[in-house]
Subunit: 340 residues, 2 copies
Amino acid sequence: MADVARLAGVAISTVSRALANPGRVNAKTRAKIDAAAKQLGYTPNAMARGLRIGKSNIIMIILPGSLHYGASQIIPQVLQSINRSLIQGGHNLMIANLDRDEVSERHILDLAFGGTVRGAIILSSKLPEVDGRSLANAGFPIVSMLLDMSDAGFPSVVTNDREAVRDATAELIRLGHRRFLYIAGPEGNYHDVERYGGVVEALDQAGLTAEAVRRSGGNLDYQHGFEIGVQAASDFARLTDKPTAVIATSDDMAISFVSCVQRTGLSIPEDLSVVSFDGSPVCEFCSPSLSTIEQPVDEMGQAAVAILLGATGQMENGPATRTVIRSKLILRESMAGPKS
Amino acid sequence: MADVARLAGVAISTVSRALANPGRVNAKTRAKIDAAAKQLGYTPNAMARGLRIGKSNIIMIILPGSLHYGASQIIPQVLQSINRSLIQGGHNLMIANLDRDEVSERHILDLAFGGTVRGAIILSSKLPEVDGRSLANAGFPIVSMLLDMSDAGFPSVVTNDREAVRDATAELIRLGHRRFLYIAGPEGNYHDVERYGGVVEALDQAGLTAEAVRRSGGNLDYQHGFEIGVQAASDFARLTDKPTAVIATSDDMAISFVSCVQRTGLSIPEDLSVVSFDGSPVCEFCSPSLSTIEQPVDEMGQAAVAILLGATGQMENGPATRTVIRSKLILRESMAGPKS
DNA sequence: CGCGCTATAGCAAACGATTGCCAAAAATCG
DNA sequence: CGATTTTTGGCAATCGTTTGCTATAGCGCG
């Protein structure tokens, strides 16, 4: 920076002001300084600035568990959308995995308390807490995405899981279905609770009871969607009084489920209608093409970033906001009326 | 840190030594210091340390173009594997997108020259270069993954694209196929060149000429795999003297291609065999299940990280290494002998 | 010409660690 | 117990910025 100042014939403090706070310096000198910086190939040191200012421009996204094999289809879209929004404001995205071990928790806490990151977007309901250090109550800006954690005090950006599934189920009922199979995510998980709730609500409204729906799954994480679908298919094979429609909580589940039941000779949608959640692009190219509930991932990412950057610091007062962005049911071949 | 020193009853310099260089301090005092740090919930400031040391512990991955909708299936696995490897050594992963605009190039250069990141893993053949600042010749540690850029001086971790496709094609020939359709990635792209080269080599070895293979695609990026497959299907419909086997350069292409041709009444593998590249988990659950060439993403990620961290600084001398990790052909239903 | 304003210079103190130095203290050993 | 080695203490410089302060320079304006 001293070199730039010398070359531009101005003082160091002026260079600093020109770069950090362009408003407070005359346009002409600013031009001189920019030219000098460019000529010297100067880039301000981010760590020195961060140290002085007391904040970084890095946001981390905390992903639950490992994204391993068969990761939930929407994660890449989530990353993409968040990253794009962040970059517009000159911020950067760092990835953090929250596994169920102390090492990863400690790692995340270090990132937060060590000042490396300025805030976090969380996709996990559990927050790291080790040795008395806790992310939750550190005044550290956090926004929850996909999961509604507004009750826990975190601004949340979610989609209308319950409603969307309710509508999809209602559509199945309208088509004439009366017996359902629900393929569940992990027991107690927010999405699972909401989505199953949606199913039951739709049944209610149609004068049916929860008896009309059987459950499969519940023991595995969303990351194992394909396995869950396979299990569900074998559960299905054992059912008497077979359901005529299936509601899966992720596209992966639906895809492997469909694949398995087709092998047993059933055809979709003639014997069985299927609808699932996520809106993965691949659903369009399955046979039959799969109806799915498309999550507005882009908008959610944008909203989460906007809230996080806007809210830096001013949390704590008043209840946390909850931003809901509606999902959209995409109707495809996998849904039709029951045979008889 | 001063507080920790006071509480532990030692000097600040001792605390620093205990935390940064545990070897040079007695086990007993170290325990005292750790206890004090824990009690106070102390986390060393990463930016201050980074500033003083002159390096950060952040590695960035530079992704080509946007990962947008229908992203190449393996990117999440790549991120996951790299992140896992990094974390073991106390490093962190930052995501950088290299779009074809100056803004994103400048952004990446700022990250590198501003000292925010310590090195980069690139998945893109083009490197940012703006205003005379260039990533390529900055002594900045870079490792290329998926693309072989060892000729350009970057250590590269790749799979044996050419060989793997050659073997897959040879297998198709062995099954009796003599006319092929090749669904291409973007013209001139490393993967496309290699993979197509593999096809031609296999033909050669079987005494066939390149006449035996038609090409489709070539105008779109891998991100648009589904579209490419759709196009390829319509190209296929127009072909006379139809190929009996299809080699696609990504799973996405194969999936949408299969979906489209099935709708025209063809059945796979009876009328047409299909094999593709990537090894996406979803291939197992397509109907028919798709043969695919599985990339060893995990091993490649680990290797890339190891090289990057090991090689910090010591580039430049000698030719860049090229690490090849073999892909594996997974045989599934989509490959069979031709009908007649 | 003097007044008020804005823009810049120059100085110095931070930000929170690391590290070299030397001396003092403690531990180890024969 | 004396000699030697290992550990600490205390000090101060340093990393590259930002920012508050005062003083000066320049400019427009009545």
